[in-house]
Symmetry: C3
Subunit: 277 residues, 3 copies
Amino acid sequence: MVDVAAVTSTWDAVREQGPLVQCLTNIVVAPFTANVLLAVGAAPAMVDVPQEAGAFAGIASAVLVNLGTPYEATHGPMLEAARAAVFAGTPWVLDPVAVGALPVRTALARQLLEIGPTVVRANASEVLGLAGLGEGGRGVDAHDQAEAALPAAQDLLSWGVGAVAVSAAIDVIVADDRCVRLSGGAELMTRVTGVGCALGALVAAACAVTEDPLLAAVTATAGLCAAAELAQDAARGPGSFAVHLLDELALLDGDGLASHVRLSNGQAQARERPWLG
Amino acid sequence: MVDVAAVTSTWDAVREQGPLVQCLTNIVVAPFTANVLLAVGAAPAMVDVPQEAGAFAGIASAVLVNLGTPYEATHGPMLEAARAAVFAGTPWVLDPVAVGALPVRTALARQLLEIGPTVVRANASEVLGLAGLGEGGRGVDAHDQAEAALPAAQDLLSWGVGAVAVSAAIDVIVADDRCVRLSGGAELMTRVTGVGCALGALVAAACAVTEDPLLAAVTATAGLCAAAELAQDAARGPGSFAVHLLDELALLDGDGLASHVRLSNGQAQARERPWLG
Amino acid sequence: MVDVAAVTSTWDAVREQGPLVQCLTNIVVAPFTANVLLAVGAAPAMVDVPQEAGAFAGIASAVLVNLGTPYEATHGPMLEAARAAVFAGTPWVLDPVAVGALPVRTALARQLLEIGPTVVRANASEVLGLAGLGEGGRGVDAHDQAEAALPAAQDLLSWGVGAVAVSAAIDVIVADDRCVRLSGGAELMTRVTGVGCALGALVAAACAVTEDPLLAAVTATAGLCAAAELAQDAARGPGSFAVHLLDELALLDGDGLASHVRLSNGQAQARERPWLG
């Protein structure tokens, strides 16, 4: 069970503790990711070169590995940072962008998966691709796509991942025998590059302040969706939405978040008609 | 001949079809390029690593190759993506940033040119540099610079390029024996990084919805200039201009575009006093 | 002595001369850095590949080397650009991001230091790290951190650096026997990624229009702080602050700057109780 009070206090804990989040991420979203982390009070550090990546993972509060532009020079640092995070007991999040459809990142993601991410944050087709059950959304209907990825998410859990957050119109986050569904958010989230990737970074930040990876993923998702709802109300289009989103993330505290959280607890195993979960 | 109705229906076709545009571009403009594509309803994908770049070009609707930061690790993927695009019949756009003045990208641009871009989108000095007729604006007067690049643009056409779009205060776009001039736009376009590069991406998106590369380049240029005019009216400076530009791109449909298009059809060969075209 | 009139006329000179600033910088801040330079009327050029980096430094008005993401492929271009700048008499600025705590960039920074930067722009812990006197802020109290770095800054000057700008709540800039302290700025500067890195770029732009590196660093710092104060007054949070900051930088001229400059001249050697300087 995850309740709203746990979510709002975890959100406030990020603001109060200001975790240091090491990001190994892609060239498209690096600026927005850093700004989202700064907005919620966290401290981003993009440390992704050999030797430094592992050393830094030992002192960071959490680590994000995002495979959006997986240049060969970054493969080593990503593996190094993930291993150092595990060695140091630092939580780390894997965001397997476009895994399944593309060969280089899919092979790299499998190597990273073996190291044991605390949380995998992805859309449905990426979860299927990471589990080896799909190739980038093939056959997955848009309406129920998060639900269609639940068997694959369960596989990832059985391989040692702490929690899997499947992003969709209704987000589904699973861990052990728990499953939380979150509705909310805003259509404009899909019209700004890097919103999903920023969620991965927020999950990492939340992992730094709670031992429960499910709670971390739910908190990050709920906070981002709440800020997005507020931002969309004030936006004319995607440009102003992105600006408002950063402002709202900075203004949103636990009390403000409380009225926006729409979550339901369920069981991840109820797979036959999971959308009724 | 290109008429306004063709331009507005092509603009709407991008919004309706949402083409998947693979971008191999530079670290400075990657986020803005992605956001511009998302604003007009296209789907950006920055896939620029070896093996993946070529594979993805086969499924993308269009490909953009931009030479702004031509790291050695990206040369292979750029060539691979361009060749795969040609093999698959996918349109691809070359944006030869700063070619002519700088040796590495000039050599790379020549290799790419031989593969046969659907459209070259560049400023006058880059068109001269790509054709081997200049070195980055030398001797080209600011007032008539697009016109001064027309002989070089004709050379590129004779080598197999489908259309050449020369960006300037008055844009000139040439293909076979056609030449379209477009006025409009806003001074603040030059005060935000990546506006020209985003135009290259929009040309690629438009190439995905029309067989005519001239029409694609005219549509992208007209749409960006119209949105820029609207954005500048609402902006206090370059920061708010960039935000408004994304909003206006998202709000602008073919009907809205119609009243902003100021184009004249001419002949590319009328070179002696081309500004009277 | 630096007086306000010299600062405002240097600020205007940047706007009037529009220096070409070559930036070798990190993937997180490259877009914002380019936009800040464009806002003040300078022309950014991110030229950071081998062969091109050195050639371009010979024609640029100033060069910025920022170590935020020091990929191995960029080490050579950074050294090449710095050496070519010195050879051509072009001013160049070193921004040693996170130097001291991380091994790769610290070794690279020492190599760059030997080439002789015109200005080092950094926070206190980075100045300590660059001088070999600290490891990333260890033991440096936040309140007086710029002052605590003054002995290290003096060491850098004795090794041939033209000026050292230590960024903090109260900025301290030293050169030969001069020391200028600047107060002002806005809390939101720390909530947007790349504001400090953009200051490095502005210092480079100012170095292109004055022979005095101290004056250049003071002018860039004063201008950025003034624009930040104006931007914070209009901002709801970090998203809108970043937008307003670019607008205010573009709107701010020397006259507007004059009323915002709060500087005091002192002696760098007065180290025992430097905060009374």
